[in-house]
Structures are given as C-alpha cells and as structure tokens.
C-alpha cells in the first residue's frame, strides 16, 4: 500500500549529503535560537541588516573624514585615538559589519546552492545576486584605501596592477600610486565618491535581487538583529580597529595585517599572477551565473485559473510567495469583477494559491470539484477523490489522515491500515476545509505536517498553513472543528521520528476523548 504523492521532486540538489548536513545544522540552530531568530534560516535578512549597520556607521565616519592626502590618514586614525567611544566604535563597527556582510553573503550563497534553490523560477533571483558580489567587494576594497595606511597602499597597488593586466588602459593605472607625487587630493575625492556610489549601486542591486519575492525577508527577527549588533559592538570594543603605519610610497609594507574577507584576492594574485586571479574571478562569476542552466528536475506545472470558479477574492494573490499572481478584469464582463492571472515564468508550482482558494472546499456538492485556481499535477478535485477512497479504506479504532508536504518530513511511511498518508506539493496547498471534511467523512483525527518553522521550500507555506488552521488567515478552519481532533506539526526532512511521535500522541489523545469526535461525525 502506498501513500499518494504526485508532486515533482525538489530541484536537483547538487549534493544530498551536504543538504542533509545543512538541515541537521539548521535544526540544531533552531533549538538554540528558535526558528525565527535562526541565522541560518535568515541569512538574506541578516545581510540587509548588516548593510544598514555599515551605512549608519559609515555616515558618522564620513562626516569626520578628510578627503586629502595630508589629512586622510590622520582623520581616520583620529577617530580611534581621540574619540574611542564614538568615532572609534563607529569605525570598528563599520569594518566588522562589512566583514560580517561578506561572511553572511558567502554563507547565503552556499546554503542556497546546497538547497538547490537556483534553478527554474528562481533563476532571476539567483543571477541578479551574482553582480552583487563584485559590488560588495569593490565597495569594501575601496574603503580600505580611504584609510591610507600600509594596507591601503598595498591594496591600491595590487588592485590597480590587477586592472592593468587587462591591457585596456592607455596608461597603467598603477602609476597613480607610483610615488608620493602621483597621489593628490582629487584621488581621495574620487575614492570617497566610489565608496558611496558603489554601495548605492549595491543597494539598488539588492532591491532588484528580491523583486520576485513577495514579502521578502529583509529584516531579521528582533532578537537576531540585537544579538548580531551586540556581538559586533562587543568585538569593536574588545578589538578596536586601528590603522597601520601611514602609507609611504617609497617604502613597501613587508608584513601586513590583512582583512582576508576583502583582500584575499590580492594575496592570490601575488602568489600566482594577475592573469590567474582574472581567470579565477571570471570562472567563479560565470559558474555562479550558469548555475540555473545546470541539469535539474523538470519544472513543476504551474497554477491554472478557472474563470468559471474564480470569484476574484484575491486570496491567492495575497498568499503567493513569489508574486506570480495578479488580479485582472474577469472575462465574464461583470462590472468590477476580477479574476486571478498567473504569470507562468514566476510560478513555483507550489499550490499555495489552491490552498487559499475559497472554491477549493471539498464540501461543494458539484460532482467534479473544480477550484478557481488549481495545480494540474494534483488538482483539488483529485485530492478529494483520493481522500474519499482512503477514508473508505481505513479501519481501526483511531483512523487518522495525515496531510504532508513533499519537501518536509516524509509522511509516506506512515501509511497503514488505520492511517492514510497523503503528500501534497506543499502543506500550503491544503485548503483547511479538507481537515473538517476528513473528520466528517470518517476520520477520527487529522495530522497536518508542514515544513520546519521558517524552513518552507516555498518560503511561506508552513506559515500560511498554520495561520489558516488557527483561524488567523483566510480561508479559515471553522471553529467548530474540535481542536483535539487535528494537529499541525512543523517538521523538516530530518524530523520523521518526531512526526511519528506526534501521530502516536494524537492517537492517544483521540482515544482519551471520544465525545468530541461524535460531533464531527454527525
């Protein structure tokens, strides 16, 4: 006997063991931080947060910066020496938050790669993130030059020598930092302009990067934000950033305390060659940009709107995690009537829209249940038919229907004589009325298994499912459905054991309170 599952698999994950390891790590972090404040689940939001710390601290530092050859070094070092609790702290925070930004961005890329979230409908979000790496590194590297110390001198020469290796410039750019006479005040004005302009471009790019997401996660939960800020402040106070020796173009710095988050490419260049660094940089960029073209699972079928059953309520429009649905005039030409329209290139095929549709209730008396918006690979009508046939099959004292998610804990192994396990495209595909329907049609209990908290493969499925079942979001599960007859579990793929425990616990509760069930069976 097998459980029902007709959805497409996840996009091809490059390394299943890595993905398992990541999910175990996320689960461990959940225990310490809670899912909402788990940094591994909110790396993008953390990146935005760090960006704003860098901006805020940078405004203070820039206000006191002297854009001149003679004053640049002294003005920055003066922040640390003359006002350690204000300027010094801001300077350190600016540096460490920038470093943390790189770390978080690299982790963000690595995690999304491991999760396989770079193909199909996600291609635009992925590809638009690639140029951000160059902008982030460019912004940071130029920031080091502004300090005009040993590291600045080293980085400026290294960067300009690297650019010269392209052979595109008539006069070598490195001649701009050849001797003390080569550097003038206008050089520092240019650097300040670039150090402000590139981050502005980066911000624009970050905005583009999240355009295909509705309700993008750009603000970390409060405790995560405060925790991160506190860690950076403590670090800034414990190890304040100070300048190294002033730049001297007649003297080469021999041993350097480099910031490896931004300046590691310089070392690669001097240990190999400028050409090697160009090859590595180009290869990394192209490989990242080409990720969406890597072999992957066929794209899931997209949502389809049935005008005859769409009443223009906009719930699917409100719940779509990828902004794939817009509302347009209804073709039946009733004045003011609207209808959902799906943009196929944006649709993830998750079915969350079908779960939001009021016409997806299984209590409708029409022979073939049709929803206003539906998934061709698992229609609401087919789901009702399967539920009916499973309910007819169930025997035993506590008959339980389990609705699972293809991307969360695997529920198919729960199928047995008194348990019907049905795996959906996403838990968010389940119209809440199906819970009541299952109970009225013979089930004693219903277990809904969604992805781990904040771990939905389609961003918001587990959240919408919970809110709908708890009566906080339309369509509601009716209040008359007894709470002890159903249960929601949020469980990742590693949590199959916990799902079994919850199922056993639900059964035990059902055995202990049979009077509630009677009302539902009526």
């Amino acid at each position: 006997m097998c459980a029902h599952s007709v959805s497409s698999p996840l996009p091809a994950a490059p390394a299943r063991p890595l993905r398992d390891a990541l999910e175990r790590l996320e689960a461990a972090f959940d225990r310490w931080f809670g899912a909402h404040a788990n940094p591994l689940r909110h790396l993008g939001a953390l990146g935005f947060f760090l960006f704003w710390i860098v901006v805020a601290s940078g405004v203070y530092v820039y206000a006191l910066y002297d854009t001149s050859v003679a004053g640049a070094y002294a003005s920055v070092q003066g922040l640390s020496q003359n006002q350690p609790w204000a300027g010094g702290l801001m300077r350190s925070l600016h540096r460490y938050a920038s470093d943390a930004f790189v770390l978080v961005v690299v982790l963000h890329i690595a995690c999304e790669l491991v999760r396989g979230r770079y193909t199909g409908f996600r291609w635009f979000t992925w590809v638009s993130g690639v140029p951000l790496l160059w902008l982030a590194l460019g912004s940071g590297v130029i920031g080091f030059w502004l300090v005009w110390d040993d590291v600045a001198q080293f980085s400026a020469a290294a960067t300009l020598e690297w650019l010269d290796a392209l052979g595109l410039f008539g006069e070598p750019l490195a001649r701009n930092v050849l001797t003390a006479d080569s550097v003038d005040d206008r050089f520092f004005s240019l650097l300040a302009f670039l150090h402000i302009g590139l981050p502005l471009l980066l911000l624009l790019g970050m905005w583009v990067h999240i355009q295909r997401l509705s309700r993008p996660d750009t603000q970390p939960q409060r405790t995560l934000g405060w925790g991160t800020l506190a860690a950076l402040v403590v670090l800034s106070l414990a190890a304040p950033v100070v300048s190294q020796a002033p730049a001297d173009l007649a003297r080469a710095p021999q041993v350097l305390a480099l910031d490896w988050f931004y300046l590691a490419p310089h070392v690669l260049m001097y240990e190999t060659s400028a050409a090697t660094l160009w090859i590595v940089a180009a290869a990394v960029t192209l490989l990242l940009a080409a990720c969406p073209a890597l072999p992957h699972a066929p794209r899931a079928a997209v949502a389809v709107v049935d005008p005859a059953n769409c009443n223009g309520c906009s719930r699917c429009f409100a719940d779509c995690p990828y902004g794939a649905i817009t509302m347009d005039a209804h073709p039946d030409a009733r004045v003011g009537a609207r209808m959902a329209v799906v943009a196929p290139e944006l649709c993830a095929g998750c079915g969350i829209c079908a779960g939001a549709c009021p016409s997806a209730t299984p209590f409708r008396s029409i022979r073939e249940l049709a929803s206003g918006i539906d998934m061709p690979q698992l229609t609401i009508g087919a789901l009702r038919e399967r539920l009916r046939s499973e309910l007819a099959r169930l025997r035993g004292a506590t008959r339980v229907v389990v609705f699972g998610c293809d991307h969360g804990a695997d529920v198919r192994g729960l199928q047995d004589g008194n348990t019907a396990a049905m795996s959906l495209l996403c838990a968010g595909q389940l119209p809440p009325a199906f819970v009541e329907y299952a109970l009225r049609r013979g089930a004693d209990g219903v277990l809904v298994v969604a992805c781990a908290e904040d771990g939905c493969a389609f961003r918001q499925g587990e959240r919408w499912t919970e809110e709908r079942l708890r009566g906080q979001r339309e369509p509601y599960l009716r209040e008359r459905v007894p709470a002890r007859a159903w249960r929601l579990v949020k469980a990742g793929r590693q949590d199959a054991g916990r799902v079994r425990e919850e199922l056993a616990s639900l059964r035990a509760g059902l055995r202990a309170g049979t009077h509630d069930r009677g009302a539902m069976h009526a």
Binding site: D99, G170, L178, L232, A252, Q254, V267, Y270
Partner: protein
C-alpha cells in the same frame, strides 16, 4: 531545550561569529616582501620619437593640397617603440620593447613592472632607446644605489625632467 541552555548556546555561537570576524579581519599576517628584500618599480609613460622623420613637402605637393592643409612638413603619425634595459650588478633584470599605444600607434609607450630584489648596495643601470632611427641606447643612467629593506625605488623616464629618473 531549557531557556538558560539555549541562551548559553546562543552566546557561544555569537561569540564564535564575532571571533571569526575579528580573527580574519587581521590574521593571519601576510608576508608581502621578505625582510631582506627591496622593491624596484620600472614604469614610464613616454611617447617614442616619430618612427620616420618628417619630410618637407615640395611646392607642387603643397599646391595639390587644399589651402587649409598646406603644412610644409609631412610627419607620419606612428611612433617608435621604446626599448628599455635594466640591469642590477650587471645582471639583466628587465629588457623590453614597449610598443606605442593607440590604433594608429601614435600614443605613448607605457610600462609598469615590479621586481623584488635583495636589499643592499647595488650597481643599477638603465638604458633606453626611444627611436628606431638611432642605434643603441640614447639614454643611459648607471649608479650605485643603496636599497634598504622594504625600500621602493621607482625608475621613471621623462626626457623633459632629465631623462631617466631614480625616485
């Protein structure tokens, strides 16, 4: 997980996060130049002399030209490459023929090269030829230089400022 234990776990992970940032922000140290080395930078941006000498146009040639283009001298645009040789204690460190830039090869010849050399006293010789019409080296400078560890000695070339410059 009990709250105190979860808070302790958070504290440890935030500390690890801060320690990672703090460490890689300054460590490990990078030895860019060995303690007993100095740096020689050979760089110039110099337009070589015209590859071919200017020629005086005859009266007949001038008459064929439009009145506004009757320049007495006909000067081809292409410039000579600049040949440079740098020796240290008699050993050739660099020898290059630097072509003029530009599509018409009428721009300056530009060069930027860096060499790590042992610190100490050396005999530095630089020879330059910026005209294919003259054999051998036109500009030469040779002298003893004292290179302290970490010193950067820039060798530039600007005939307007005295030819080969040691800075």
């Amino acid at each position: 997980m009990p709250k105190p234990l979860a808070l302790a776990g958070q504290a440890v992970l935030y500390a690890l996060f801060a320690a990672t940032i703090g460490w890689f922000s300054f460590h490990p140290r990078y030895q860019h130049l060995a303690p007993d080395q100095a740096l020689l930078k050979l760089s110039f941006s110099h337009p070589g002399q015209l590859r071919e000498a200017c020629r005086t146009r005859s009266a007949e040639e001038l008459a064929k030209l439009p009145p506004n283009m009757r320049q007495p001298l006909d000067c081809p645009r292409e410039r000579s490459p600049v040949t440079v040789e740098l020796t240290l204690d008699g050993a050739v460190v660099a020898r290059d023929v630097v072509p003029p830039t530009g599509v018409a090869r009428d721009g300056p010849s530009t060069l930027y090269a860096r060499f790590a050399v042992p610190a100490g006293e050396h005999r530095l010789a630089v020879r330059i030829n910026d005209s294919v019409r003259e054999p051998g080296f036109i500009y030469t400078r040779e002298e003893a230089v004292q290179l302290a560890p970490g010193r950067i000695l820039v060798v530039d070339f600007d005939p307007g400022k005295g030819g080969i410059l040691f800075q």
